[in-house]
Symmetry: C2
Subunit: 311 residues, 2 copies
């Protein structure tokens, strides 16, 4: 029986790698740089080398490795192919096939947000739930929809792209996806800053917030200090996100929402603003859903990637 | 090997029943009245009698029956229990358990819209797709979300309740669910009439539509006759529904939407209004989804109910 599994979380700047035993214990964890030059042609060879070097270092034999799971920032289909991953310089790529050919190991690939969701379900804030939605409030807003323990990939790998729920008709700024008024334009770290800038542009009240030093952290720190303006921004954030999650619930009716990503470092104060709006807009039978914080942080991706292969 | 299966579609006025062979061919089809008096206590005994009488009439032995599938107007959990079904007078009820005790046959129960969705996937407009959304535009708006061939029931049986997506903030009329601005307030048969009434109240143009004789059929008949006012109503309907379905797509990224229910009798003219708005609001990777008409009509429920048991 194979004893080891590699979990890889491929980001636009760094690649996080984890070596796990097949029970899910972390044996080693490290990072390499993501080399995006020349349309990212070095990325998969670099990852393969990192894996093979680690096996050499630890004297691990190929037959003792279950495989390599990898999470990628882009829509990935059930066969481990991506159609485009802008942050990596990639167009269409057979990730699973290429990485398998470089390593000689079984490979499974998934969308990074979906994979992180699986990690949180397995060993994180969603442990014990089988029907959940993991919401990652980072630079963008990612989602992972889990139904009966399986991530919903979707027809073209865009399952759980809840950052692109249309929520505001009047928006004039364009979202990264080309649409206008997507959830991630307000509920991501940059989205909270957008809401804060707009508020401060018309604000006449005294506030701890300064236009020159705005961040999601600054906003929620000020909320915790009872800053009236910051609280108004948080109310707006919570109204938009709570309403968006109520829409998600009308589709899949989850047991739990697990909130992660940089913005979630603010902690459970977020729930004060999200939950009341969720309750207000959700279909009555969906209101029992609980809100949990993600707990694996940046490691959710490597856990979930490992879990991809173990399944 | 068992040869027969019963599919039951339980509505507020009539119960539709179908006798199928286990390949899905309809052998018989009939209806009985739904007796909702005394909190609907007679409904399941009546259904059991209808099934047992049919078996006697056709000289079918119990050992030759796979079971009875039943679709119910309310949220049904994975064990076949309903928490409430207002139209039937029911509170909490163990449908599968009770009907099994009355018939001595295996029973599976599901939400009526979910069950109809399964019917359309099996033998209807969604044949050949495994990831689809069936949208029923009837008195209300029901939905069935199918992922990898299985209906999403949800944590409390409210999976696919897309009629209760919140779509309009300004709505003052209350939806049947108690919320305001739900999709079904505009996209159901009564919703189209609501839109039409509001349009006619401020309309100054010549139109075929009359306030005294409004229906979804009248509106789409007028659309087909190039009536300018009816077209404006259809545009509004399409904008709301297309946008709502784009939200659904951001969650589950289906291959296809199958549109059924009374409103869908208008035919593919609906797609002229729904699809362009879907394309406008959908996340780019979700835009390949195709739109199909449901084809089983009122029989979708008995087909899907039978399929529940065959699975």
């Amino acid at each position: 029986m194979s004893k080891y599994v590699f979990g890889v979380d491929l980001g636009g700047t760094t690649v996080k790698l984890g070596l796990f035993d097949n029970e899910g214990a972390v044996l080693d964890k490290w990072e390499i740089v993501t080399r995006t030059e020349n349309n990212g042609e070095l990325i998969l060879p670099d990852i393969a080398k990192a894996v093979l070097d680690k096996m050499a270092e630890k004297s691990i034999d190929k037959k003792d490795v279950v495989g390599v799971g990898i999470g990628v920032p882009g829509p990935v289909d059930d066969e481990g192919k991506v159609s485009v991953a802008v942050n990596l310089g990639w167009g269409a790529k057979d990730i699973a096939g290429e990485l398998k050919s470089y390593t000689g190991l079984p490979v499974k690939a998934g969308n990074d947000a979906n994979v992180a969701a699986l990690g949180e379900m397995w060993q994180g804030g969603g442990k014990g739930f089988k029907n959940l939605v993991v919401v990652t409030l980072g630079t963008g807003v990612g989602g992972g929809i889990i139904i009966n323990g399986k991530v919903v990939t979707g027809a073209t790998g865009a399952g759980g792209e809840i950052g692109h729920l249309h929520v505001i008709d009047e928006e004039e700024e364009t979202c990264g996806c080309g649409n206008h008024g997507c959830l991630e334009q307000y509920a991501s770290a940059t989205g909270v800053v957008r809401l804060a800038k707009r508020k401060l542009a018309v604000n006449k009240k005294v506030t701890l917030l300064s236009e020159n030093d705005l961040s999601a952290k600054a906003v929620f720190d000020a909320v915790k200090a009872n800053d009236e303006v910051a609280i108004e921004i948080a109310e707006q954030f919570g109204e938009i996100l709570g309403k968006g999650l109520a829409s998600v619930a009308a589709v899949t009716n989850p047991e739990a929402f697990v909130i992660g990503g940089g913005v979630s470092k603010a902690g459970t104060v977020l729930f004060d603003y999200i939950e009341k709006n969720y309750q207000k807009y959700a279909f009555p039978s969906c209101r029992k859903a609980v809100f949990k914080l993600a707990i694996l942080g940046n490691d959710a991706g490597i856990f979930g990637a490992a879990k991809l292969v173990i399944d």
